[in-house]
């Protein structure tokens, strides 16, 4: 039986009401993606887990789910990176430093960082996938002694599409991080790998049972990358993915983000491959 007293308390506050978030930094990263640094009222911390998302509100234009791309170890603010793909994100792109947005969350299950303690990390980011992964990479960098080696594979369609360029250059310089980049289509200034991100995986040197592979990218990418990772003998539950869906409420009610019986906004967006295997056919990211 539900405790009536507790229920009455819950009936007073609405989980639909956003907090006030002030944009303290806003800049274009490429011609399609904009970076926002947001400070909550009273400079309170968002207290999120790497991999969680928030619902960003612009009054009059409803709200949209956006991944947090800063680590919880970055205190006093949090970061978002948004690609201009629709009417809401177009409106969001017009906002500048000093503007106010509504924030609800954080929502969902983030990357299982506690389970990852002591393991080597293989991070595979395709395109925008680096956005949620940046929260994990920064977290690992801030808590480096909790984790083993970190390898990052980064892929984009073209060299202009790379996000966080300054930061990734820093990562490359660090001895504890091994980084490898590739583009689908090179330009004359590109000196790195050319080809899909899957081509980088056979060459990585890992101890599969001691490695967590974390994969985030466009829906089409997963099945191919996962197939390569399975060839490397990484156990299913150590292959971690984060799925994009159309979250509207974040509370496991509105139904938009559902994959079969699972509400991605509550049970995800982070899943492991063994969870993905349980889906019967509605999960696009799962190998057929």
């Amino acid at each position: 039986m539900i405790d009536r007293q507790i229920l009455l308390e819950k009936m007073k506050t609405s989980p639909y009401k956003p907090m006030k978030g002030k944009i303290i930094e806003a800049r274009m990263l490429t011609d399609k993606e904009k970076f926002f640094r947001i400070e909550l009222e009273g400079k309170i911390n968002l207290n999120h887990e790497p991999g969680q998302f928030v619902m960003v509100s612009i009054f009059g234009f409803t709200e949209a789910p956006i991944s947090v791309c800063s680590s919880p170890t970055d205190k006093g603010y949090f970061d978002l990176t948004v690609r201009n793909v629709g009417s809401f994100t177009d409106k969001l792109h017009k906002l500048r430093r000093g503007d106010i947005v509504g924030i609800r969350g954080p929502f969902g299950k983030g990357f299982p960082i506690d389970n990852m303690f002591g393991y080597d990390m293989l991070i595979v980011a395709g395109g925008l996938g680096i956005v949620p992964l940046r929260s994990l990479i920064r977290y690992i960098m801030h808590n480096k002694n909790d984790f083993g080696h970190m390898q990052i594979l980064l892929g984009c369609k073209t060299p202009e599409e790379f996000l966080f360029r300054g930061e990734t250059k820093e990562w490359m310089k660090r001895s504890e991080i091994k980084m490898n980049c590739t583009v689908d289509k090179a330009d004359p200034d590109w000196h790195g790998n050319v080809g899909l991100i899957t081509t980088l995986i056979p060459g990585v040197d890992i101890n599969p049972t001691r490695t967590y592979a974390v994969v985030v990218g466009p829906p089409i990418m997963y099945r191919f990358v996962i197939a390569e990772l399975l060839k490397k003998d990484i156990p299913d539950h150590q292959i971690i993915v984060s799925l994009e869906r159309r979250m509207r409420c974040g509370l496991g009610k509105c139904g938009h983000c559902q994959i079969e019986g699972v509400y991605v906004c509550q049970s995800g967006p982070v899943f492991n491959y063994s969870q993905l295997s349980n889906f019967k056919g509605e999960c696009h990211e799962k190998a057929a």
Partner: protein
């Protein structure tokens, strides 16, 4: 006093009394169909009706619910609903009461939904037990909802000259307490109730070709069934089935600005998983493309997913989805086709 009786001739008197106690909603005729409406004239209340066009969910889960009021400059949010009012749902079928129980489970699951909980808190349900089928579309017997299974404050059962009232809560008891024309049921009334229930067993027969457990197992095995492809070919994606379903609760969020363009209201509005863009993301990927997949999803949300999650079937057997479907997609036929495919149709 657990059972009371009221003579039919006193029913209108009682309705007048109820109308003064709280806002009273009851079924009445609309052309050749029925709808729940606030009672203005007690003579319009109808007790024998086929399930209303919309279930009473429109009162506890409104089509357009105010979530909060907002102001852009300066950024501010405030309550949109100051106080929820007491209301009575009168003559609710047992199938629709089962629907309310399903919604309870959904909205009480954390994170709890305060709008629903507040409306539910102010609700009093007076049910009515059906003694014969409303029409050929109902499948309440297979779902076990042709008989009362709790979830109400009072339940009315027609025993000829009188109604037996089963009192199921203190809230219900208060609505009959101290009324001269409602008395405690005696032994003879109870025998009459038994006779009515016994007669009912001859009328209500399971509509599906197998038990619910078998149906659940069949759903588990037949995700890629031809049945879904067939249903998908006929479906016109109008979303009628989900709008009229007492256990469909998917919604969308919508903002409405007032003329100042500086303040407005955020609403939650009913949405349907049958709509083309329901699972489409801004990047263009559609995660449930095709009417077959969307219809399958609707069925699985009645017979599989909620059973896994809440140990409860989310079909109440009201038959509304079949009654309203423009493409004659029939729930009982769909389930029986699946069972036939499995070789379980008895």
């Amino acid at each position: 006093m657990k059972y009371a009786v009221i003579k039919k001739e006193n029913l209108n008197k009682w309705l007048e009394y109820l109308r003064k106690k709280a806002r009273l909603y009851a079924p009445r005729k609309k052309e050749n169909l029925f709808i729940f409406r606030p009672v203005k004239d007690v003579n319009e209340v109808i007790l024998k009706y086929i399930p209303t066009i919309l279930p009473p969910k429109k009162y506890y889960y409104p089509q357009k619910e105010k979530l909060f009021r907002f102001k852009i400059k300066p950024f501010k949010t405030s309550k949109a609903i100051k106080a929820f009012e007491e209301y009575i749902l009168f003559a609710v079928h047992t199938c629709d009461i089962a629907g309310i129980q399903c919604m309870d489970v959904v909205f009480r699951e954390g994170p709890e939904d305060p709008n629903y909980l507040n409306r539910k808190d102010k609700m009093t349900i007076i049910g009515i037990e059906c003694l014969e089928y409303c029409d050929k579309y109902a499948n309440c017997t297979s779902m076990g909802n042709h008989v009362p299974r709790g979830g109400y404050d009072l339940m009315m059962i027609d025993i000829g000259e009188k109604f037996i009232l089963h009192i199921n809560s203190g809230k219900g008891e208060k609505l009959i307490y101290g009324l001269a024309y409602i008395r405690e049921a005696n032994h003879k009334d109870m025998l009459e109730l038994e006779r009515v229930r016994e007669a009912k067993k001859k009328v209500f027969k399971e509509e599906f070709g197998a038990s619910l457990t078998k149906i659940y197992e069949t759903f588990d095995k037949h995700f890629d069934s031809e049945v879904w492809k067939d249903v998908g070919k006929r479906c016109v994606a109008c979303g009628n089935c989900t709008a009229v379903c007492p256990t469909c609760y998917c919604f969308d969020i919508m903002d409405e600005m007032d003329l100042s363009f500086n303040q407005g209201l955020r609403h939650r509005v009913w949405n349907s998983c049958q709509m083309d863009d329901f699972a489409k993301v801004a990047g263009g990927e559609d995660f449930r493309k095709g009417r077959d997949g969307r219809q399958r999803h609707r069925y699985y949300r009645k017979f599989k997913y909620p059973v896994d999650k809440f140990n409860r079937y989310f079909c109440t057997g009201c038959g509304r989805c079949t009654r309203t479907c423009m493409a004659q997609i029939n729930l009982v036929e769909t389930i029986n086709s699946l069972l036939a495919e499995e070789g379980e149709l008895r």
